[in-house]
Assembly symmetry: C2
Homo-oligomer: 317 residues x 2
């Protein structure tokens, strides 16, 4: 029988977790094992929390424990990047049934620590409690020399995207239809690869607003536009559709642009830059900020304002 | 019918939450509504996360939504105090069934914000997701000029306590037996009152180690002692037993010292100070640090080492 949390107890589990983690990251002065972590975070601190729930945000049959760790950590770390920040430390709050296998938990933490390692961040602390539903809340903490908010976009600004977009949605479609390939798309769903360095690069290049795409490109650019009081006018001919998406879409009878426009979970970054800006190399222009007119602030594609249906999701409806 | 989260949706709920929160606290430069909060946290940052689960950490019939908010916030804020720090900001990760009443959620946030207000901290961000079990994870963030760890106690040091201890356990006993009074004890269980100022005061007075009492006095002092590699020798004649506890204990046929020694959830603070220290006014001496001998590091009461049974709890056994 595989060893469960009930077998080793809370403190035993914490010991296993601690033993499996890499040595402390540069930003972590005091890590696991005290009342709180002590962090070295010079300058403005940026902080975000994201929760994933088993059966809703991940299906155990579609994602290993390591995958879940990567995805959960990436969600929080992308939020830090979207502020123009660098993630330094993560806190992990795990709620788990007593019959959860210890190996699942250590796998989860391995995935989290590996994802954090992408930017030399570390797991600095956490909490483990018993509950009926496996739930992982990750707090991401970092620093941003010049925080970039959602609210700074101005008419005339360039809208640009960095990172893969639509891949996770395509991977989810593939899995939902019972397939395991194309492997690259499935992997993109299981382990998103947010363009972490693009966030600080955008901030240095004068980005006026930025957001990470977690609910869908249209939905999240809509959030940015409404925060800024502008119309974000996307040009579908400029929006990159990767060859992998086009090739797979025909087999699944899907318009690949829908994956790109409505798909979340890739944690690509969309930023706005003053007109005439030299974009950081990872960014591709996809549209232009316009004045909010008629229907109010929001997002348009090829001049037609999007109504808010079908391009994102609200977890409670 | 009372309005539920399903009625207003995720974004509607977040709007209600935002509308109900007080204006931003001094440490919160950017609060709810962006990808991440931006915080002004000069000096070493201390960070902790605590989770409470409905049915396990609170019973809805014993605690209002506001009470749950106070308790959950206090747990994290006490961790910051136990590092010698001051809490500046909280992040709230809420997992809730779609049929949760909006009023319950806004009550929860009210309780959290009120508790944060005790130290002029603010709710800076959060996440709301759907899940079968009401679960609240709170990340507490603060600063500590001189972080005080669990591991610095030295033989000869004075062991001292600040804050109410045993009250929450007594209140839980009262509720468990179907009573609603003494009100002061029930209230102590519903809304602990950690001695937040005592943490930084202890740090300024040269505290060598500190911990907050959340799992039980013996259990948590045991953690401090093992981290420090010492024997914490408590003197039962010095341990304060409040009159309210003594008076109530006879009616419930309980030894009030057991509430004090085994009770958690008050989030009192235990600190060690070099011999001869003038203790901060809120601290009362309860014992002395000795060399670890024979049975190894741990906690003793009146010279008899405690075995680790019956004085704390492990959530998974």
């Amino acid at each position: 029988m595989a060893e469960t949390i009930a077998d080793v107890g809370e403190f035993g589990l914490i010991e296993r977790i601690r033993d499996g983690l890499p040595p402390a990251a540069p930003g972590v002065a005091v890590g696991l094992g005290d009342d709180a972590a002590v962090l070295d975070l010079p300058g403005p601190v940026v902080a975000s929390v994201d929760t994933v729930v088993a059966g809703r945000h991940f299906k155990p049959e579609w994602a290993t424990a390591e995958d879940v760790g990567h995805r959960a950590a990436a969600a929080g770390m992308a939020d830090i990047a979207a502020m123009g920040g660098r993630c330094r430390a993560l806190l992990v709050a795990l709620t788990a049934p007593a019959d959860t296998e210890v190996a699942w938990v250590t796998g989860l933490l391995q995935g989290i620590a590996d994802e954090a390692g992408e930017v030399a961040a570390g797991v600095a602390g956490g909490d483990v409690v018993r509950g009926d539903t496996l739930t992982v809340s990750i707090t991401a903490l970092g620093t941003a020399e010049r925080p970039v908010l959602r609210s700074g976009a101005e008419p005339g600004d360039i809208i640009a995207i960095a990172g893969r977009q639509g891949w996770a949605a395509a991977g989810l479609t593939v899995l939902s239809r019972g397939f395991r390939s194309p492997r690259a798309l499935v992997h993109a769903y299981q382990r998103p690869a947010p363009p972490y360095d693009s966030g600080p690069a955008a901030a240095r290049s004068g980005a006026t607003a930025m957001i990470d795409i977690s609910d869908g490109l249209l939905a999240d650019v809509g959030h940015l536009a409404r925060s800024s009081g502008v119309l974000a006018d996307l040009d579908s001919s400029l929006i990159p559709v990767a060859d992998q998406l086009s090739e797979t879409s025909s087999a699944f009878n899907v318009d690949p642009l829908m994956w790109v426009l409505a798909g979340g979970d890739d944690h690509s970054l969309v930023a706005t830059f003053p007109p005439g800006s030299a974009l950081p190399s990872m960014f591709t222009m996809i549209g232009r900020v316009g004045e909010s007119v008629g229907n109010g602030p929001g997002v348009a594609v090829d001049g037609r304002q999007w109504s808010g249906q079908g391009g994102g999701h609200d977890h409670f409806r």
